[in-house]
């Protein structure tokens, strides 16, 4: 168990490509830190540098107080769970889990005790004699976990360990891994592209894009106060609606936003909470609002008329507990920079918005409806820098 510190870690390839650029992170003892980002953002490279599977081009890596930049993987006292499990197929589950102990010269009876303890934590006692080929995906996943936890390393490294499991199993393993990590208290560095895993498992979440760290924060804070447009769009599902709008001063203490051709009132408290916002009066900004802050206006009759959008429903997805409604609004869309994001619905002139309505909504595709926007929950970003205001 130890702390870990990345100081301006960078990975530059021979062709000049920078996979990771100036990444600085500090993991507290026992912390579960999730590094999340879209595919190809350098997050796995960062993990592999910590493991010692890739050379570190620049920066310094510490586990505890030791600088381990040039240490061989076997000497780093880290354990890793691979995306593909990477179990040794010629060995039984018992031998797989016990392998790190065997290599480190533990005696057979001691080894067996440790293996049994790990196996009982992971509910693998029945499978100890089997080879990986006979196991299901979830069991293989747990064997890979067992091989990591059996030797009590300073640091756990997990490279998208759940991405090969089916959806149901993933939800269960998500909770299991978080629980095991909590029980063992081992500092954990977890890489995923799935923001739901990041939000549900991490004590803190680090969002990375093109090898550059965007924001590190506890999940709630990341969700409530994203530092920039990318984080705002990446965290949350369905993601935040983002489009260009204009902030208008309608009088002393009275503000409006112009979204396309529609003018909406903004509570003074929103402006008061963001002192920087006054400087953007009558200028274009990026305005963000989450789907859950939109509601079918017919379900909230007392919602002020000046905070309603009039839209035409394009797509309706009934999910049971809620209904997702997609509609275009006539405002210029904003590219968040997430390569995995969906293409915009309406090209340059209109933005695709998603709303999360209560299940009681009666809207149908093609309906012209009023949408109540909770303008107290708006996010504002600079149009050029994409930074939060």
């Amino acid at each position: 168990m130890a702390t870990a510190r990345l100081e301006r870690i960078g990975k530059r390839y021979d062709n000049g490509f920078r996979a990771v650029d100036g990444l600085s992170l500090a993991l507290a003892d026992g912390e579960f830190l999730v590094l999340v980002g879209p595919s190809g953002c350098g997050k796995s490279t960062a993990l592999r540098m910590i493991a010692g599977l890739e050379d570190i081009s620049e920066g310094e890596l510490y586990v505890g107080e030791r600088m381990i930049n040039d240490m061989a993987p076997k000497d780093r006292d880290v354990a890793m769970v691979f995306q593909n499990y990477a179990l040794y197929p010629q060995m039984t589950v018992r031998q797989n889990i016990g392998f790190p102990l065997k290599i480190r010269g533990h005696k057979p009876d001691e080894r067996d005790r440790q293996v049994r303890r790990a196996a009982s934590i992971l509910e693998l006692m029945e499978q100890l004699g089997k080879k990986p080929g006979l196991l299901s995906g979830g069991q293989r996943q747990r064997v890979a976990m067992g091989r990591a936890i059996v030797r009590r390393p300073s640091l756990f490294l997990m490279d998208e360990p759940l991405s090969n499991l089916d959806a149901k199993l993933r939800v269960q393993m998500r909770a299991d891994i978080a629980g095991i990590q909590k029980d063992l208290g081992v500092t954990t560095f977890y890489v995923t592209h799935d923001q739901i895993e990041a939000m549900t498992m991490g004590h803190r979440v680090a969002v990375i894009k093109h090898g550059v760290l965007q924001q590190v924060a506890p999940p709630e804070e990341l969700y409530a106060r994203p530092d920039n447009v990318f984080v705002a769009a990446f965290i949350g599902s369905p993601s935040m609606n983002l489009c260009e709008g204009t902030l208008c001063r309608a009088g002393e203490e009275r503000w409006r936003i112009m979204l396309g051709d529609q003018l909406l009132g903004v509570p003074a408290s929103v402006i008061a909470a963001r002192p920087g916002l006054a400087a953007y009066a009558d200028k274009a900004v990026v305005i963000g609002f989450r789907p859950e802050h939109l509601e079918d206006a017919s379900l909230v009759p007392d919602h002020p008329a000046e905070r309603r959008l009039t839209v035409t429903v394009a797509v309706r997805e009934a999910l049971g507990a809620e209904t997702l409604v997609h509609f275009p609004i006539a405002a210029t869309p904003v590219d968040s920079g997430d390569p995995d994001a969906l293409d915009e619905l309406g090209g340059r002139e209109s933005s695709r918005c998603t709303a999360r309505f209560g299940a009681a909504t009666r809207v149908r595709v093609g309906d012209r409806i009023e949408v109540a926007l909770n303008t107290g929950q708006l996010h504002f970003f600079d149009l050029d820098t994409h930074l939060a205001i």
Binding site: A51, G52, L53, A72, P73, K74, R76, V78, A79, M80, F82, N84, Y85, A86, L87, Y88, P89, Q90, F99, P100, I103, R104, K131, P132, G133, L134, L135, G137, R140, R147, N164
Partner: protein, 280 residues
């Protein structure tokens, strides 16, 4: 991973009939060899030809040992081929692993060079080989033949092993490194056991290549004590007459070690050894 078993389970109606025809085509020459070896000299040239001898005799099987030094031929062949196979396997396994796992300058060119070396017809090489072995004092020796065979088989065996190692996920090397293995230990404890089917296939190739080799053995040896089995069998074809029954008996002898070799190794010739290592 393909599913050979289920393909047979739901067999096409023509599957077994076609298999029988294929078996017959393969078996006819072998059975003819057996039948000829059991004939005596008068039955050999009976008109019409006998499919099966009326009085089968093992005389030919005895005479090849009595009239010619077939024991020495067989021993020479075994020594040369087993040594050549073992050496080829050791080198090609190490080379194949290195080529599949490490990136270094000239790697692609080296692989291409290995293939290029296979493109020369052996008649073109035989005089250079003769001169090299002569200057090294290795003419007419088993060691000379071993060196020669190894030089043929290593390049192709290296390609075979390179291909096989590439099918073993590199995550296993990485997992082993993190679990505490150095490079050598990773190779011997984790990767090599998985490469067994590839090593078997490679050794089968090297063994057969050496066992059947005739031309170089003919040119590079000349004393009876150093000749190999194919050369010995070839000598049964005389200038004026061919001892067909002895020729066929000797041929049967020469197939026996191959059959034993195959029976012993065929259980390793399975491709599913890495099943369960990684999720495909």
């Amino acid at each position: 991973m393909s599913k050979p078993s289920s393909a047979i389970g739901g067999a096409h109606p023509l599957f077994y009939p076609l298999l029988l025809v294929a078996c017959a085509i393969v078996m006819v020459p072998v059975l003819w060899m057996l039948s000829t070896s059991l004939k005596n000299e008068t039955e050999l040239f009976r008109d019409p030809l006998l499919l099966w001898p009326e009085k089968p005799t093992l005389a030919a099987f005895r005479s090849v040992f009595q009239d010619y030094p077939f024991g020495a031929y067989i021993r020479n062949s075994l020594v040369v081929v087993i040594c050549a196979t073992a050496i080829s396997l050791a080198f090609s396994t190490l080379a194949g692993y290195g080529l599949s796992r490490f990136r270094f300058g000239g790697r692609g060119a080296f692989l291409a060079f290995l293939l290029l070396s296979q493109m020369f017809p052996s008649v073109m090489l035989i005089i250079p080989y003769f001169k090299i072995l002569k200057s090294a004092g290795l003419l007419d020796s088993r060691l000379g033949l071993i060196v020669t065979y190894v030089s043929f088989t290593i390049p192709f065996c290296t390609w075979m092993m390179y291909g096989y190692f590439r099918s073993i996920p590199t995550e296993l090397d990485e997992a082993a490194a993190i679990d505490g293995c150095g490079a050598v230990r990773t190779f011997f404890t984790v990767i090599l056991p998985l490469a067994l089917p590839g090593m078997v296939a490679t050794s089968v190739y090297a063994f057969i290549t050496g066992w059947n080799e005739y031309l170089f053995a003919l040119i590079l040896t000349n004393s009876e004590e150093q000749k190999t089995l194919p050369v010995g069998i070839g000598q049964l074809i005389g200038q004026y007459r061919i001892e067909w029954n002895e020729l066929m008996a000797a041929s049967i002898y020469s197939t026996i070690p191959l059959m034993i070799f195959f029976l012993f190794l065929q259980r390793y010739l399975i491709s599913s050894l890495t099943a369960g290592a990684v999720k495909n």
